[in-house]
Amino acid sequence: MLERLIHAAVGVVGLALIGLAIASATVWRADDVLRAAGTADQAIVVTDPGVLEMGGDPVTVTARVPSGARVVLAIGRDTDVAGWVGTDDHQRVTGLAGWHELALAAPGAVPTTSAPTPSVTPAPAPDEGSTATVPDPAGSDMWLTHVQGTGEATLTWQAEPGRWSLLAVGVTAAGAPAAPTLELAWPRAVTTPYLVPGTVAGGVLLLAALALLGRDLRRRQGVEWTPVLTEQIPVVGEPPAQPLTRRQVREMQAAAPAARRGGRRADEPPLTTSELRTLEEAAPATGAVPLAERSTTSVPAATTSDAKTAAAPVASAETSESPEPPTPAAWPASAESPAFGEQPEAGATPAAGSPAPAAPAREPLAAPQPAPTGRRALRTRPAWAPSRDEADEQEAATTSSATAEEEPAAPRGRRSAPSVTQASPRPAPGETATQTPPAEPAPPAWAAAASSDAVPPAAASTAQPSWLRRITGTTPAPPSPPASQPEPEPASAGEPEPGADERPAQTDSSRADAWRRAWGLPPLEMTNDDDGSSR
């Protein structure tokens, strides 16, 4: 508030400055013609040398006397004028009393200019000085110029080198003195020295004030906005983060080594493993970390960001996405598979305890859904998009093909990712409205379903069948692998193999998971993997 006041004050000062500058060039601007006037008490008025030239070059002298009287204006050397006036009563114009007022010396004051005059002036003075009549300067040979008129006389004088005086004498028709009113007018070269600097300075102040105020306003708006964002964010991030993290952390930590042993090497480049380790090391602190770790495994750069952002899967998905592009194959697998794995594990763990996540998960799956698609059934949620399923299927069929296919999947994830990052929960709802809620709150619900394998399996089976049907229908080729699944499953029961299988599955599924997370959907693959492993 205080700041804003100061800024406003600066602006006001700037405005005032501009106003003053303009006023100095307009309202307060000196007149083009400087006029100074004064009315004398004596019939004879003399200007001191320099007075005529003090205001400008051509001086226009106007003398006015009461109507009927005659006035004579004459200009001559100061000594001549002084000599002519002699000791007669007269007044001297000594300068300006103000901008528009002539300074008149006391009546009768004798100018000190001419010392020699006394020798001569005494002669004329007694002749006419004592009389009431006023001498007439007109006709003297000493004047450079002189003018006379009745009532008024005007004379213009161009400055010349030398000392010049003006003599004004007013005489009534009867010869009696008539005090003239003298006005001197000079053209002025009016300058407006304050206009430009004042305007510029004022403008600068004003602009500065405006800028500051604008910044204040912007800041204020920003402040209003941020809380809105923050409100949303916590809603989105917290629920998944809190519930997920702890379990996930444990599970993921547990799963991570298994993943390393099994699948990593096969599918993913050597980089991921090393990265994973480093990530895992850093990760344990935050619950979300494990996710991040895995996601980061694909790309080292992401690790830090992920680790830092304890945000739920969403965050991991985001981070994973951006870095992943370089290695599309690695990305979905590493980043998402863990994420999926986590959630389902979270669900599964309670039921199965927390040994190897894969083991408990598989068992239920295997039980409810026999041959057709062991993994896929598990992996693919009933609601899940067919594309997802297809991807999964293909992946399942052949890891190599899966990697190839992943690329298309990845783009989706990327696309969705940006939206996810901004508002992770919302984009999800669009596609899977039913599931999105689960994504956040769902984990528990979903987990419950997953965890309580006994009961949920039915639901899962009910759900799955439709999905399975689709898949089977859609992808004839994959079905065959599903058929083989029973075989893999036993193999999967043996952890090593399933781990190997899971990895590829995870890689594929991880993409999908990331995508789901981006949309706020609960991860499926985890269930798949877990189911596959557990069941």
């Binding site: 205080l2 006001v12 005032a16 307060w28 320099g50 300006l96 020699p116 006709g139 040979d141």
Partner: protein, 331 residues
């Protein structure tokens, strides 16, 4: 608090700006310092104006042969001389017209002075009849007087005009008792009068160069004495009229001295029954036609000298003179 402070600052700023806006003081006279060298009394144009006006006045007076018309511009010896000339012209029915006085300046010798009276010399162009140029002496007695013709003189043939300063600058007015001159200006007139009276016998004769005026005076005097030697005697006196009117320095460091000398030529008739018949001019001046015992004729001489510098060895030169019979008394 903050608002009050801001308001105070604003008010202060406004006051400050207003003060600065109004702070520009009105202009004050800044006259040139008095010139170290005095300016000329009259400018060239002013001199021309004066001469033009003088010419008109003279023309009016000459046309009417009325001296009263000369009052505005003619004064002193010139007025007396012109008045006499008008009388002479009138008496002679125009046979002897007044002296032609051109008013076109050939040379203006303007004094540098701030005091009065002011004397200005003007060397005119030659008249139409190719007479000698005139030296006009213009005088302003007091500040409220106009420049008037105080006197005139004819330039002597073969005499060059002294080099004088430009009229725009003006010529210095010298002290009549200036030691830098061969002869003190105040003594010039008296010395010259002595020379006129005594001729070469004067002690000061050597100080003055020969001049036509002195010769003519002597010749006239001699002729008059010869004419009246049977009936009487002739005596002439030369009296300076006061001191020199003015002393003006020239560019060469010399001085021009202007003054008047009154010459009184008296014829005393010693022979009984003898009488002198006056000329119409003289008769007009006196009002009588005959003189039985004495006839005194008074001439007003306007003399213009050039006084050399001291130590130059040069003589004082009379460069212009005019003698006009201005008064006659007959008994």
């Amino acid at each position: 608090m903050n608002r009050r402070r801001a308001r105070g600052a604003l008010v202060g700023l406004v006051v400050l700006a207003a003060a600065t806006a109004c702070a520009t003081p009105p202009p004050t006279p800044s006259p040139e310092p008095p010139a170290a060298v005095l300016p000329p009394a009259l400018s060239v144009t002013q001199t021309t104006d004066v001469l033009g006006d003088l010419g008109r006045v003279l023309a009016a007076g000459d046309a009417a042969l009325d001296a009263t018309l000369l009052a505005p511009r003619v004064t002193g010896p010139a007025l007396a001389m012109r008045t006499a000339e008008y009388q002479r012209a009138t008496a002679t029915a125009g046979e002897r017209p007044p002296t032609v006085l051109p008013t076109d300046a050939q040379v203006s010798i303007v004094p540098q002075t701030q005091t009065w009276p002011r004397v200005q010399l003007v060397v005119t162009e030659q008249p139409d009849d190719l007479q000698a140029p005139r030296v006009l002496v213009l005088v302003q007695e007091t500040p409220r007087d106009r420049y008037s013709l105080w006197g005139w003189a004819r330039m002597f043939p073969g005499v060059s005009t002294p080099r004088t300063a430009d009229p725009d600058v003006g010529s210095p007015v010298l002290d009549p008792v200036d030691a830098d001159l061969a002869m003190a200006p105040s003594d010039v007139l008296a010395a010259y009068a002595d020379v006129l009276a005594l001729g070469d016998a004067s002690e000061l004769a050597a100080s003055f160069a020969a001049d036509p005026f002195r010769d003519s005076i002597a010749a006239t005097r001699q002729a008059l004495a010869t004419n009246v030697q049977e009936i009487g005697s002739v005596a002439e006196t030369y009296t300076p009229t006061g001191g020199p009117l003015t002393v003006i320095g020239t560019a060469d460091g010399e001085a021009i001295v202007v003054g008047t000398v009154q010459t009184v030529s008296t014829v005393t008739i010693t022979l009984a029954q003898a009488k002198l018949t006056l000329s119409p001019y003289e008769a007009a001046l006196t009002g009588v036609t005959e003189a039985t015992t004495a006839l005194a004729r008074t001439y007003t001489d306007v003399l213009v000298f050039r006084v050399p510098r001291a130590g130059s060895g040069a003589q004082v030169q009379l460069i212009a003179a005019e003698a006009v019979l201005t008064a006659v008394s007959a008994q």
